[in-house]
């Protein structure tokens, strides 16, 4: 793999953007790679802008904090773009050449100007209706983050499905240290499923499905992506 993959995740509070970054980092950790993940250091509230960051690479990573120059940007919610619920404007500022943007949407949200700018940087944009996918397979919108992780891994191949499953086990399979809001959401998602195994399985299914369709998209891409 490349020296470093920097992933910036923009979403709304409660969508699991922080959990997604932790899962990706944890999966990389399981794969024997180095990784660091952290949230944007704010007082995140439900439906307010939320950002998280994940850095993965084959060497010890020291860089931390906000990711200003990412290779991958994931947008978990259309309002990040449409209502500017984002810490950065435009949401793709700082994206590196040949980078990748994954947006959870059913329709194209970008203006012509946006497209032009991203084309100039040779940035690939992948729209995926992750929320519908989450509802369909996971049975709840709360699994949107799983679909997004799956898509990210499917395109970048930075971690495998196996490692993601191990990370999922780690995160939801045992006692986890989480602050107030995250702990409440953990409880909510646990209640959605009668059993913990169901939670793990449904979420994994969502990851796999997104992984597969994203892989297919990536294979059909003619664009050279820095992230592969």
């Amino acid at each position: 793999m490349k020296k470093r993959l920097n992933i910036r995740i923009s979403g709304l509070g409660g969508q699991g953007a922080v959990t997604a970054a932790h899962l990706l980092a944890m999966a990389a950790n399981k794969a024997g790679l180095y990784s660091i993940s952290n949230p944007f250091f704010g007082a995140e509230k439900r439906m307010a802008p939320a950002e998280s960051y994940c850095r993965i690479g084959p060497e010890r990573i020291y860089d931390r904090g906000e990711l200003v120059y990412p290779e991958v940007i994931m947008v978990f919610h259309p309002q990040v773009i449409t209502l500017q619920k984002s810490y950065t404007a435009p949401f793709y500022s700082g994206i590196k050449k040949n980078g990748l943007i994954i947006i959870n949407t059913s329709t194209d949200l970008l203006t012509e100007e946006d497209h032009q700018r991203l084309d100039d940087l040779n940035v690939a944009v992948y729209d995926i209706d992750a929320t519908s996918l989450a509802l369909e397979i996971g049975g709840t919108e709360l699994s949107t983050n799983m679909a997004m992780i799956g898509a990210c891994a499917g395109i970048t191949r930075v971690v495998s499905l196996d490692e993601l499953e191990k990370a999922l086990q780690d995160r939801f399979g045992k006692k986890y240290v989480a602050s107030g809001g995250t702990a409440t959401l953990d409880e909510a998602i646990k209640k959605k499923y009668a059993k913990k195994e169901m939670l793990l399985k449904k979420n994994m299914d969502t990851i796999i499905k997104a992984y597969e369709i994203a892989t297919e998209w990536a294979q059909n891409q003619k664009q050279e992506m820095a992230v592969q």
């Binding site: 932790h22 980092a25 944890m26 950790n29 180095y34 990784s35 660091i36 993940s37 952290n38 949230p39 250091f41 704010g42 007082a43 990573i61 020291y62 860089d63 931390r64 904090g65 906000e66 990711l67 200003v68 120059y69 810490y87 950065t88 404007a89 435009p90 500022s93 700082g94 240290v177 602050s179």
Partner: protein, 414 residues
């Protein structure tokens, strides 16, 4: 006392010389700190807050007082869980940082090993206590998870509060990573409690960058722990009515305007500062050195502490790709300040950059005050208010000095 004292008959409490190898009530084996560091577990992937909890778990702490303030709240709450599991003698929530630090002082006066955490505005609210701790020679450890302190309200990381702590008479260590934080918390007690040191210690880390970031950490096994604190090895009497003297002073100098009072206070302050210096040898024994250096033979050096070191490491890597060679000096301790080490490491440098997570540039000033030909020191880059310091920004600063044209970095807004 040179007269033999029958401890049991007299009911006098003597030092509890707990032997290494004995077990505590949780079954943990009292172990020398250096040996502890030589028995690492498989690496764990943890946030800094979890790392604080795990260090406390093996630190034989008697008492901890908590108060919520971001970003240390999570760690303080996790210590509470350890208390519920029986790893601490007592734990409670105080009413404000000023009170918390007072409660910590009371417990330390009573002979307990005390740990607490604070951040940013809390550090400043508590401030009156810190010089008092040092003056009373209380070896309390406070983990300072640095956070902005200015108005308007911020909760972002910013190391300005360390500047305020510099002259409190405390030991001040600055952790770069979660690993550092873990090691410093354990080593911190061992150094701070030495009879010839016996001072409070602030183990500082950059909030969020360390506390809320998941990172790889090598811990020691949970089955070992630090030897307990022995208050009767203190250079000042423990306030438990178990040891003499029970009467403090024959002629107190408090509030007296005379030369005896002046020189008592002056020599006491000198003694506190001397004790800081005496901590060096203990720190070196446990942590190896007060600094960490890389390629100090190079003409350009970065001197930094805390997370700024991490960002510098990445910047050096980035510059290396372009053929620009830069060396690094990481300062582990800020008090004592590693004067000799820094002078030696920077002897051949033509330019010294001091990147900092605050706009006051206090570390650059400390460096300037310490080395000859200090026009070599370039204070910066500096970021304030808690923003991250992209490696590109450090690299740009150095390239500008070298006269290498750089593309203007895209700002985050437009």
């Amino acid at each position: 006392m040179n007269k033999p004292v029958g401890v049991k008959e007299k009911g006098v409490k003597m030092s509890q010389h707990v032997k290494l190898g004995q077990k505590n009530k949780k079954g943990q084996v009292y172990t020398d700190i250096v040996d502890m560091f030589n028995m690492p577990e498989p690496p764990s992937f943890l946030t800094g807050s979890e790392v604080i909890r795990d260090a406390v778990k093996v630190a034989s702490i008697d008492l901890s007082v908590a108060y919520p303030i971001t970003p240390q709240s999570e760690a303080a709450a996790l210590i509470g869980e350890l208390y519920a599991e029986g790893y601490l003698g007592d734990y409670f929530r105080g009413e404000s940082e000023f009170a918390v630090m007072g409660q910590c002082a009371g417990a330390a006066f009573g002979g307990a090993r005390v740990f607490t955490t604070t951040a940013g505005p809390g550090t400043l609210r508590a401030f009156e206590n810190f010089p008092m701790w040092a003056g009373a020679r209380l070896p309390i450890q406070v983990c300072v998870t640095c956070r902005g302190i200015n108005s308007p309200l911020t909760i972002q990381p910013d190391t300005l509060e360390m500047y305020f702590l510099l002259e409190t008479g405390m030991l001040i260590w600055h952790a770069e990573t979660a690993q550092d934080l873990y090691d410093y918390i354990l080593a911190g007690f061992m150094v701070a409690e030495q009879p010839d040191v016996h001072l409070p210690i602030a183990t500082c880390c950059d909030g969020f960058f360390v506390t809320h970031t998941k990172d790889t950490v090598n811990k020691v096994p949970d089955e070992v722990c630090l030897p307990p604190y022995d208050p009767y090895r203190s250079p000042v009497p423990c306030m438990d009515m178990e040891n003499p003297p029970v009467r403090m002073m024959r002629d107190p100098f408090v509030m007296k305007s005379n030369y005896i009072s002046y020189s008592t206070h002056a020599s006491w302050q000198q003694e506190v500062r001397a004790a800081i210096e005496r901590s060096r040898k203990h720190t070196i024994r446990i942590l190896g050195s007060l600094v960490e250096t890389q390629n100090t033979d190079r003409e350009i050096l970065i001197v930094a502490s805390g997370t700024a070191v991490s960002q510098s490491r990445e910047a050096i890597r980035l510059l290396e790709e372009e053929g620009i060679k830069v060396g690094l000096v990481k300062l582990k301790t800020i008090r004592p300040f590693p004067h000799a080490e820094l002078r030696e490491a920077t002897a051949n440098a033509k330019a010294i950059f001091v990147p900092e997570f605050n706009l006051s540039g206090w570390l650059a000033r400390e460096v300037k005050a310490c080395i000859p030909n200090n026009e070599r020191v370039h204070a910066g880059p500096q970021v304030g208010g808690g923003m991250t310091m992209p490696l590109e920004v450090i690299a740009e600063e150095i390239k500008r000095y070298l006269g290498i044209p750089t593309e203007t970095l895209a700002s985050r807004g437009s």
